[in-house]
Symmetry: C2
């Protein structure tokens, strides 16, 4: 028969079993951490009506979107989890209680040009808190603590959450008479760390943006406010009284920083940074980015912020919210590329490989069942292979224990357990063998997913 | 602004938060149970090249498939998890160890005509064991024990796994000289329970199928073999010696049944049933169906079987396997429709709603952090609402505990805990309050997902 060459589309992540186990660990940490903060899991369709999904884009096709006809239906694959959330909240408004806190981990689709580290099918892991009409500022203070917990539980230590407030920025540019150019200025300022102050000034005063020398000075003075959070907040006090919007932003930022230690976020994992802004239209208050300190080139691994109106395209209800998103597929790719995934972390499909060595398989089957009842993952291996091949199978898959049940063991109602890491072997009654394995596995379960160099 | 009416496409399941929590419980049981048997989790893209995905269909578009062009690429959404597995194993053959045991839980897409209980986007939960060249019969005996464990852990009791062997059927029809009509006969025989023996005979002897009276008698005698597994197996011994294929099937069926009790499957959950066959081409040995005894009209909730060649379209390697699939979306729909989802099961987004009643929120924030450190899901509620509205929020979401931290409590370094189920309220030191909540939650965690009437 003619064969079709098997292949996976470029830009689509398809992992081998061992890295997939690591990825599952990542998902499990995300689910557990988000749930601890009272977020409820949601799942929405991957396919939506184009008219609904692209309402914001005015029905125009955007190049990156996977859009197609099925029969008469104009369909699109979701490109983020925010638009589906907006639709969900508008559609099910009457059935929800507010503040509505949801998390969603799911695949989204973007037809980007294929290049290393860019994916067309990617997992995002989002949390959002949606208010009905109003939403308390404390929610904006809680978000950094969730980011902190999430990455800490993964085992990451060298990271910093950067926070700013869009009201401060908008207010500041308003006082300079630069409200119209604010978007462009923020995009230039955002490059400060990469290109330096001199280049930023050059871009700001170029004819396309058109800032005067005085305006450029003011912008550069503002974004050069640095130091500890206390220092930055104190320097910002000098700007008070010029714009009510800026004052409001200053109050919010003070509140967010004030509650940080109560929320358990250590000072070294958190910094007020006046250069970050996140997109232009959507965010209206606190904004967040998260940097890996040893890999700033990667950009933010968790971003988000406060917005005033989630679902303006679907409903007249005012639905303010605050949310963050982790690009899980890209994060996993980066962690793997940088060698940060803990090589000690178990990736085997089973904890014990059970090898029957007698004609009657019943004793081995019974032992495998007992292992599973004790919560131990057990695989029964019954293929007609040489002993060496069986051991090599356990070895390749990094299965930590092999259990033998030969005539001797069956007669003694015992089992021989080989620890594949150190080669130690002992023959024990079944219950003791299970306790022995359980104790050894418990230590592995404490290992972090990420191990920094 | 003109609003776009929010809607979800018909045939796409989108659950409210409480049923979504039940669905997550279902996923969690599936993941945990499959993992206990040594299956490794896999994830493959939802989108594949049409040429690869539809290799079996000879590249022809099948009506149900979501197929579209993106640029020059002819793409399709996967319609099951078996074809992607075949591609995966053929593509990554050199990196896998055999037997390769994987589970996959993911969405698949079928553009069926929309009707009640039919879905276009549906979750499947599959396990397969793939051998390289050979695969031991014991794997076929293990599968019913996995089905048994999976549904038992969900809390289902009234179910039966039905088993047959395709070699017995093929051998039997071969002895009657009916190999060519075997497919059609099996499809008719499959309806026995629904239409009765007389109607089956009528269809078999109709000109389109064309069985003689003698042949029809033989078929009806064969499929009327019923009783306990021992009785059925014993009756089948009368057929031995007529066809080597049938004899092989009899040996296999005897082995599967023989090891059932060792694998821990109670007799009442398992029945040899000579009428079931599952599709025609794919399966070659043991086949499985699973019936809900009180809802036979639903059809099989978990099906599968043994096949000789997983990836014939992609590789010359002989890759025999055995697998089963659960249609999770449909199962969930049916359980919900039949009122079988346990109403006692917790569906709240949080275990505790923490209500600060003082100006300074720090004590409440600290208590929420302590709860989370103890693994208790806590939501801090800081919205400016009346006390009654806050209690009603907890009530609507079925959050089991509310914690108050007023001046009194803060001064005493205590917290007041209200049990929302019985209204009992007590003021305790934080550590004691946490222990109290933990004990109460532990009992809820034992509740089964399914509660039969």
């Amino acid at each position: 028969m003619a064969k079709e060459k098997p292949r996976t589309l470029s830009g689509f992540m398809e992992l081998l079993p061992a890295p997939q186990q690591q990825m599952e660990q990542l998902f499990s940490i995300l689910r557990d951490t988000y749930a601890l903060y009272g977020f409820t899991p949601l799942d929405t369709p991957v396919i939506e009506s184009s008219q609904v999904l692209l309402a914001k884009a005015g029905g125009e096709t955007e190049k990156q979107i996977y859009r197609f006809l099925k029969g008469d239906n104009d369909l699109s694959l979701r490109f983020d989890l925010t638009v589906p959330l907006a639709k969900y909240v508008a559609l099910h408004y009457a059935d929800l209680s507010f503040p509505f806190r949801r998390f969603q981990i799911g695949k989204v689709y973007r037809g980007e040009r294929p290049q290393r580290g860019r994916f067309r099918e990617l997992y995002q892991a989002d949390i959002d808190i949606i208010g009905d009409g109003k939403l308390d500022i404390i929610n904006e203070a809680e978000i950094p603590s969730i980011i902190y917990q999430t990455f800490t539980r993964m085992g990451l230590r060298r990271f910093r959450i950067q926070v700013n407030n869009r009201k401060i920025l908008s207010g500041f540019y308003e006082t300079l008479g630069l409200s119209e150019q604010a978007g462009e200025i923020m995009r230039i300022v955002d490059k400060l760390a990469k290109i330096g102050a001199a280049k930023v000034r050059e871009l700001l005063t170029a004819p396309e943006v058109g800032l005067s020398e005085t305006q450029a000075d003011a912008v550069l003075a503002f974004i050069s406010i640095q130091g500890s959070n206390t220092q930055v907040l104190s320097a910002l006090e000098d700007y008070r009284g010029r714009s009510s919007l800026m004052d409001e932003g200053l109050d919010e930022l003070n509140t967010v920083v004030h509650y940080l230690s109560a929320f358990g976020v250590p000072e070294e994992h958190f910094a007020v940074d006046l250069t970050i802004a996140r997109g232009l239209d959507y965010y209206t208050g606190t904004v967040y980015e998260t940097l890996m300190l040893d890999h700033p080139e990667i950009g933010s691994i968790c971003s988000g912020g406060r917005y005033d109106n989630l679902a303006a395209y679907y409903t007249d209800k005012q639905l303010p919210g605050v949310g963050i998103s982790i690009g899980v597929t890209r994060l996993f790719y980066v962690l793997n590329e940088q060698g940060l995934l803990n090589p000690e972390l178990p990736t085997a499909p089973a904890d014990v490989l059970v090898l029957p060595m007698t004609e009657d398989l019943a004793p081995a089957i019974t032992f495998a069942t007992q292992l599973r009842q004790a919560g131990i993952r057990a695989q029964l291996y019954t293929e007609a292979k040489k002993f060496k091949a069986k051991m090599s199978y356990a070895d390749k898959l990094r299965i930590p224990f092999v259990a033998f049940l030969g005539e001797d063991e069956v007669q003694k109602q015992a089992v021989s357990i080989k620890n594949m890491a150190d080669g130690a072997q002992e023959t024990l009654p079944a219950a003791q063998a299970i306790a022995h394995i359980q104790a050894a596995l418990a230590t592995c379960r404490e290992l972090p997913l990420i191990r920094e160099h």
